[in-house]
């Protein structure tokens, strides 16, 4: 494209137009076909889950789907911390409870607050709490950081047993024993989210926004800085990365996401119970997140399905849910030993290997698969 073909471009704009043209061409060449196919698959799957699924399943399974979508935000936050920054947090489930508490409290304090704004406020406040817990992360790493976050989680669950979730009572805690009627605390949903299907769709959209936020971060300056920190802090410092800032930012972002998930959970059918967030659940969460895969954005989705859909399926098939503990234990062992990148990498790889092997056998001439 030459400038002569565009008489409307003034002389002063020419270099700029040329620069934009170069940039456009460069950008277009960067979007390769696999990327386009991947984007199409993601879009198709998202539309199916958003539009078609509610019509295909019963209310019960739709509520399970809602829970899976909510927990996919939690698994996403932990996968970001572990996979992208190299920080192991064992406090994510307790932060989910904090998010729930904040959302319910805000619901009573400001009944007129629009639901989306309430969610964002919940995310921001939980983000601040999570950042405080993350402060030790500046000095600690690995096992010690995991231990600190687990201790904070235990402290939060003890505090929760004492304070309960707000039920419209007076004071900062907003809990009154006299008002205690039902066992679970709930956040009142606006009318436009009253039905199971509309709430499900809203949750799926919010989860998609959170995943988009995650993808955006990983592809930006923050993601590159996290990659440097994860590999080696000295090399990150030598590259000019403010390690403290980016670690805290990671904690803030993960806590923000988990807080929003907590707000959604507070508004979901089951509501919140004080015994619903035991500290040890954070360990199970880490196990499924590792199993799903922490280096891909599909990993957290698989992890959420393992965590919230699989138990219901087992129950449905008449199998004891305790089986899960054993399955997760074996699963995480298997993944750590054979595929550290998680099931999202392992399953397609092994399937492709299997297909190649079967093809080779059928053709009879193909290279024989080496015996393992």
């Amino acid at each position: 494209m030459s400038v002569a073909e565009e008489p409307e471009v003034s002389a002063a704009d020419r270099p700029r137009a040329a620069a934009v043209g170069t940039w456009l061409r460069a950008t277009a060449s960067e979007i390769e076909r696999p990327t386009a196919i991947r984007a199409a698959v993601v879009a198709a799957l998202f539309l199916f889950v958003l539009l078609a699924l509610p019509g295909l399943v019963s209310t019960f399974w739709l509520q399970i789907g809602t829970t899976v979508a909510i927990y996919s935000i939690v698994t996403l936050s932990l996968a970001l911390l572990v996979g992208r920054v190299g920080l192991v947090s064992l406090g994510q489930i307790s932060l989910l409870a904090v998010g729930g508490w904040v959302a319910v409290r805000l619901g009573f304090a400001a009944p007129g607050l629009p639901f989306p704004l309430l969610l964002v406020a919940t995310g921001v406040i939980t983000g601040a709490v999570g950042t405080l817990i993350g402060l030790p992360a500046l000095r600690l790493s690995g096992l010690y950081l995991a231990l600190i976050t687990l201790m904070a989680a235990a402290a939060i669950s003890v505090a929760l047993q004492v304070t309960n979730f707000p039920n419209g009572g007076p004071g900062f805690l907003g809990y009154s024993g006299a008002l205690a009627g039902s066992v679970s605390a709930k956040l009142h949903r606006p009318d436009w989210l009253a039905s199971s299907a509309s709430f499900y769709r809203w949750v799926v959209v919010v989860a998609a926004v959170m995943f988009a936020l995650g993808v955006l971060h990983v592809r930006s300056r923050a993601g590159r800085s996290w990659a440097a920190i994860r590999q080696s802090e000295p090399s990150a410092i030598a590259a000019g990365v403010n390690v403290t800032l980016y670690k805290l930012w990671a904690f803030a972002l993960a806590s923000f996401m988990t807080g929003i998930a907590g707000g959604l959970l507070a508004a979901s059918a089951g509501g919140l119970t004080t015994y619903g967030f035991p500290a040890q659940d954070s360990i199970t969460l880490l196990a499924v997140v590792l199993m799903g895969g922490v280096f891909s954005f599909w990993g957290p989705v698989v992890a959420a399905l393992l965590l919230k859909l699989l138990p219901e399926l087992l129950k449905n098939w008449g199998l004891p849910p305790d089986l899960l503990t054993i399955l997760f234990g074996l699963g995480v062992l298997q993944v750590m030993l054979t595929a550290p990148a998680g099931l999202v990498v392992q399953v397609p790889r092994d399937l492709a290997g299997l297909v190649a092997m079967v093809r080779g056998r059928l053709a009879g001439t193909g290279p024989a698969e080496p015996a393992e």
Partner: protein
């Protein structure tokens, strides 16, 4: 110019750097010495990983030790590591771009061009979009050197860049190193055990032994210095 005065580092009872005073004037300066002499410790002090017990370091008039580690990098202090530290999760372009976007003069508008220039400067052929995880040792070294020279570096610390490289690669590296002060105007401090590389690149060289500076001056003279030869070969009466 880097002026180091009475720099001392202590780890418990060990003194890896003992009152080191030296001036690296300009161009490419060598820093040599036997294993454990304190060369890497000196680099780590400059990078901000190790806090010295005493002493001062001024680089181009700036009090280097007063800056936080990452700010020194933003100011223009770059380095490579003995065990290369190119980031495996990122592409070649992003590895170099990361340093550019965190440096003081690293504007977004010039990033693409600056990164490609740096890759060309070190002679790294191949796609910038390639993941570093797929590269060999030689290419990873060059990626690290590209990280050290992208944008506007002021001081470049090279910690054994030729370790484990075959001869012809070392010669290529020597050409690249010599061009850093010539074309980019940065001061290079080169630590290496390959004396032919040090002789080829460095006009002046300083020698450390057990944390003490035992010689400094024009490279050819320093390498002939009796104390230096003794430090490397040992002396009979030490046994």
């Amino acid at each position: 110019m880097i002026e180091v005065s009475a720099l001392t580092v202590r780890f418990g009872g060990v003194t890896p750097l003992d009152s080191m005073s030296v001036t690296f004037p300009a161009g490419t300066c060598g820093l040599i010495g036997p294993n454990g002499a304190g060369k890497t410790t000196f680099f780590n002090v400059l990078s901000g990983f190790v806090t010295p017990a005493a002493g001062a370091v001024r680089a181009f008039g700036e009090d280097l030790l007063a800056m936080a580690g990452y700010r020194r990098a933003r100011w223009g202090l770059r380095r490579t590591f003995q065990t290369e530290q190119a980031i495996e999760a990122l592409s070649v372009f992003d590895n170099v771009g990361l340093v550019h976007e965190h440096s003081a003069g690293g504007h977004r508008a010039t990033r693409r061009q600056d990164v490609l220039t740096a890759l060309e400067f070190v002679g790294l052929a191949g796609s910038p979009k390639e993941s570093v995880a797929t590269l060999g040792v030689r290419e990873r070294r060059l990626v690290e050197v590209a990280r050290a020279v992208v944008g506007s570096p002021r001081v470049v610390l090279l910690d054994e860049p030729a370790a484990g490289l075959p001869d012809e690669e070392t010669q290529h590296l020597a050409r690249v190193i010599r061009r850093i002060p010539e074309q980019l105007g940065a001061l290079v401090v080169l630590v290496d055990h390959d004396m032919s590389l040090v002789s080829a690149c460095c006009d002046v060289t300083a020698v450390l032994d057990f944390g003490k500076l035992i010689a400094s001056g024009p490279t050819a003279e320093v390498l002939r210095d009796e104390r230096v030869i003794k430090a490397y070969l040992g002396t009979e009466d030490k046994v």
